[in-house]
């Protein structure tokens, strides 16, 4: 396996986000839910580049995004991050209850509108929201 430089690692994520059907991707920390990276999600703080890193700082005014969010149905990265984070936690509790030595490896959540693919790892969680194949 290639020991990728940071930019190559990020390029892998960018590739994912550019795949057809993928609406948004999100990398959050498993430990505290901090957002490491996101694409396709409106964030309170990130600038125009959707693949840019997201240092979510508090001083940015979020007002300019309000309208866009409402219309397109895109959620804020923080929303998704916190919801997914607690969902992964709940799934962890479920699996723990069934078998103490087991562990969540993959969550695919199909909704009427799209699918969430959540890949929990010991340190990070990767989330992708993509369109479901037309059925």
């Amino acid at each position: 396996m290639a020991q990728n430089a940071p930019e190559e690692t990020l390029a892998l994520l960018a590739r994912i986000s550019q795949k057809p059907g993928v609406q948004s991707t999100l990398v959050i920390s498993r430990e505290n839910g901090a957002i490491v990276r996101t694409s396709g999600l409106i964030s309170n703080s990130s600038t125009a580049n959707p693949n840019s890193t997201l240092p979510a700082s508090l001083e940015n005014a979020p007002d300019s995004y309000s309208n866009g969010r409402k219309e397109s149905g895109i959620h804020s990265a923080e929303d998704v991050a916190s919801i997914v984070w607690s969902f992964v936690g709940a799934a962890g509790i479920l699996v723990d209850g069934l078998d103490k030595e087991d562990e969540v490896k993959l969550l695919r959540l199909r909704t009427k509108k799209n699918e969430l693919v959540i890949i929990p790892d010991p340190k990070f969680i990767l989330v992708a929201i993509h369109d479901t194949p037309p059925a």
């Binding site: 396996m1 290639a2 020991q3 990728n4 940071p6 690692t9 990020l10 892998l12 994520l13 590739r15 994912i16 795949k19 059907g21 993928v22 990398v27 920390s29 505290n32 839910g33 901090a34 957002i35 490491v36 990276r37 309170n44 890193t53 997201l54 240092p55 979510a56 700082s57 508090l58 979020p62 007002d63 995004y65 309000s66 969010r69 409402k70 804020s76 923080e78 929303d79 991050a81 916190s82 984070w85 993959l106 695919r108 199909r110 693919v117 890949i119 790892d121 340190k123 990070f124 990767l126 992708a128 993509h130 479901t132 194949p133 059925a135």
Partner: protein, 699 residues
């Protein structure tokens, strides 16, 4: 009056006298009893007669009557037990001691009795009663417990529990406790209040964000309970190995998930689903349904496949969805490694599962059939390389660039042997064949130099490819640049030395042999001696090789004279350079070839030996290296170099060539999959027929 008084006096006197008499008699009786016992005891020492025992018992009874029974001393059940034991004890006492010791002894017996009773009842009672007293002490313990509950209370308060029930608990404790914990309680109350406040805020924020989408942006800010990363932290995280590994792993999973074509939630009752593809005749190829061939995947990577040619292909034996492709160097990227291997996954279309590098062009590579993690390859530098899918992209082992191994390009290698004892056999274009063990590539285990047998003008031999039969790992065929195919032995054997067996020569091709393939022979009839060869002389030839042991006796000519030249069984002329030809791993009569015009042809010798049953070219969906080049080179860029069958099912074929695109086809049931018995016999009949024709022609 007086009379009556007198009478009474008399009566009293009489009674007194009676009493005195009684007293006296009692005294007397006691004395006599004592004397009688003291007399009697010596006479019968050990065995008291029952009558005597009874008497003593009577005496005891009397004594007891006199002394007065202590109330409640004897229960209703105890005398019965006491009676049986007492006589012996009394007598033994009598034997030992004097008379006056008896009463205390007997009373002592009563004491014992009483004590036994108290022992049986009293301890129970006392234990029971004493328990109540420590209860008071426990209160102090409960005090301690209460402090701990207060801790847990403040904790559980965090979960949003109402503390009303617990608020009562302090009132139950003593006033002293109250006084002691009052300060603490006040502090707790403060914490509780602040916690409650926080929780309320959180709930409020959550409600706000969920209800009000517009204000959610601000709401989520408050709601989001997790810390946000600063730029420095973010950079640190993103450059960490953990993050790189995570992204590597998780994106692969994600891509596989996204590339999964089939929608498991598909509801066929809803909407018109397209007519099944199998019902329509396949466009360009037509023909019967079972013989259809379909392109299922193409692999090309913008970053790595660009301007490289495919030099070899191979399916994994363990994981049939994995196919590896080795590539030559990219002449326009001098900083990239020259050699490249990409392992593609049929379930992940846009990205290789693994990427491996080498310092020199990789000319041939394959998965080890005995270890699913290992990939071996031969390089232009003459090195044999070993990669591990569990390791990084650099080879885990490689042969040194010294005289002990190969010094010329290695175009062909194979792994032969069994699971526990296998060797890598590599062949370079200068005629050197080396045997290596997978564990040690620092030095070849075997070293063999192939030389052209005498009739040739020069001793030098330039093998382009080698092929081992399924049954015998000590014997192989080598195809050469001049077009002949020679049998070779790895070791000395009866009638033949190690190296090229000069007695037999398979001549037929007029140009370099590009590929040799033994029949995989996994069926009821042994067809393992059938060999296909492909050459750039625009032909494919079918050979029946002589068994290595039989070459000696069957050959009448003495060694050193001209070789026994064997003609091909069948020669199939094609319309272009044939670069590769491979038997189907399951169908005995089916083989596939790729040619310079970019076609994949499937042949079934049972059906036809003159035209292929299927012919197809990879689509242009993926933009290969030459896609943007002027159309004048059009035929060049389509050329296919290599093909490989998936070994387990024989349903998939991967092809690749000049443009660096790997294309995977799937063949229909008649070209891969289940095998019927007559197919084997059909091939056998064909071979016999061809042999007789050959003999007739020869004579």
């Amino acid at each position: 009056m007086e009379q009556t008084m007198q009478q009474r006096r008399d009566e009293i006197l009489a009674k007194k006298a009676k009493l005195a008499e009684l007293k006296y008699q009692r005294e007397l009786r006691r004395q006599t009893a004592a004397s009688r016992q003291s007399q009697g005891s010596p006479s019968d020492l050990a065995q008291p007669t029952p009558s005597r025992a009874d008497k003593t018992r009577d005496l005891d009874m009397l004594l007891k009557g006199i002394v007065g029974e202590r109330p409640g001393s004897t229960g209703p059940g105890s005398p019965a037990g006491g009676r049986s034991t007492r006589p012996t004890s009394v007598i033994s006492a009598g034997q030992l001691s004097s008379d006056n010791e008896i009463p205390p002894y007997s009373s002592g017996g009563g004491m014992v009795d009483r004590e036994m009773q108290t022992l049986s009842i009293a301890p129970l009672a006392t234990v029971f009663e004493f328990d109540a007293e420590p209860k008071k002490e426990i209160i102090t313990y409960s005090k301690g417990v209460q402090t701990s509950t207060e801790w847990s209370r403040s904790k559980s308060r965090g979960a949003g529990d109402s503390g009303s029930e617990r608020d009562e608990s302090p009132t139950r404790t003593s006033k002293a406790n109250k006084r002691l914990s009052r300060r603490q309680k006040e502090r707790d109350e403060e914490i509780r209040m602040s916690l409650r406040k926080e929780i309320e805020e959180e709930i409020k924020a959550a409600q706000q964000s969920s209800l009000d989408a517009g204000a959610g942006a601000t709401g989520s800010k408050e709601n989001f309970p997790f810390k946000t990363l600063t730029n420095e932290e973010l950079n640190a995280v993103q450059s960490s190995d953990d993050f790189a590994n995570f992204v590597e792993r998780s994106t692969k999973v994600l891509e596989r998930a996204l590339d999964q074509q089939y929608d498991i939630l598909a509801d066929y009752a809803l909407g018109g689903v397209d007519v099944d593809e199998e019902d329509e005749g396949y466009g360009s190829s037509g023909g019967k349904k079972g013989r259809r061939i379909k392109e299922i995947a193409q692999f090309w990577d913008e970053r790595w496949s660009k301007k490289r040619m495919i030099s070899d292909l191979g399916f994994s034996t363990k994981f049939p969805e994995l196919v590896l492709a080795s590539y030559t160097k990219n002449p326009s990227a001098p900083h990239d490694p020259d050699g490249l291997i990409q392992v593609w996954n049929l379930h992940m279309h846009d990205r290789p599962e693994y990427i491996f590098h080498a310092q020199s062009d990789v000319l041939t590579a394959k998965f080890s059939p005995f270890h699913p993690n290992l990939i071996i390859g031969g390089a232009y530098s003459g090195q044999v390389l070993l990669w591990d899918t569990r390791a990084k992209s650099a080879p885990v082992q490689k042969t040194p660039l010294t005289g002990s191994g190969h010094t010329h390009p290695v175009y062909s290698l194979d792994i032969v042997g069994t699971q526990n004892a296998n060797n890598i056999i590599s062949c370079s274009t200068d005629g050197v064949v080396c045997g290596w063990t997978v564990d040690m590539l620092s030095q070849p285990q075997e070293f063999l130099e192939l030389t052209s047998p005498p009739p040739a003008k020069t001793e030098d031999m330039a093998p382009t490819c080698i092929a081992f039969p399924q049954s015998d790992p000590t014997y192989f065929l080598a195809g050469t640049e001049e077009g002949s195919i020679y049998p070779c032995h790895r070791y000395d054997r009866a009638g033949a030395k190690a190296g090229v067996d000069g007695r037999v020569k398979y001549a037929g091709h007029a140009a370099p042999v590009m590929s040799l393939d033994f029949h995989p022979a996994r069926g009821q009839i042994d067809l393992g001696d059938l060999v296909l060869s492909a050459s750039v002389d625009w032909s494919v030839k079918l050979w029946k090789v002589k068994p290595p042991a039989a070459t000696g006796p069957s050959n009448p000519t003495a060694p050193g004279t001209s070789a026994n030249v064997v003609e091909p069984l069948l020669s199939i002329p094609r319309e272009d350079l044939v670069y590769d030809v491979r038997w189907s791993p399951v169908k005995p009569s089916v083989f596939a070839l790729v040619d310079g015009s970019g076609s994949l042809e499937i042949w079934d010798v049972n059906v036809d030996v003159e035209v292929p049953v299927q012919k197809i070219s990879p689509s242009d969906a993926k933009r290969g290296a030459f896609a943007s080049m002027p159309s004048g080179l059009g035929y060049m860029n389509r050329s296919l170099n290599k093909l490989t069958w998936e070994r387990n099912e024989g349903r998939r074929i991967a092809v690749g060539g000049m443009d660096g695109v790997v294309t995977v086809f799937e063949v229909g049931a008649e070209l891969g999959g289940e095998v019927r018995g007559e197919e084997w016999s059909g091939v056998k009949r064909l071979v016999t027929r061809l042999e007789t024709v050959g003999e007739v022609n020869g004579k």
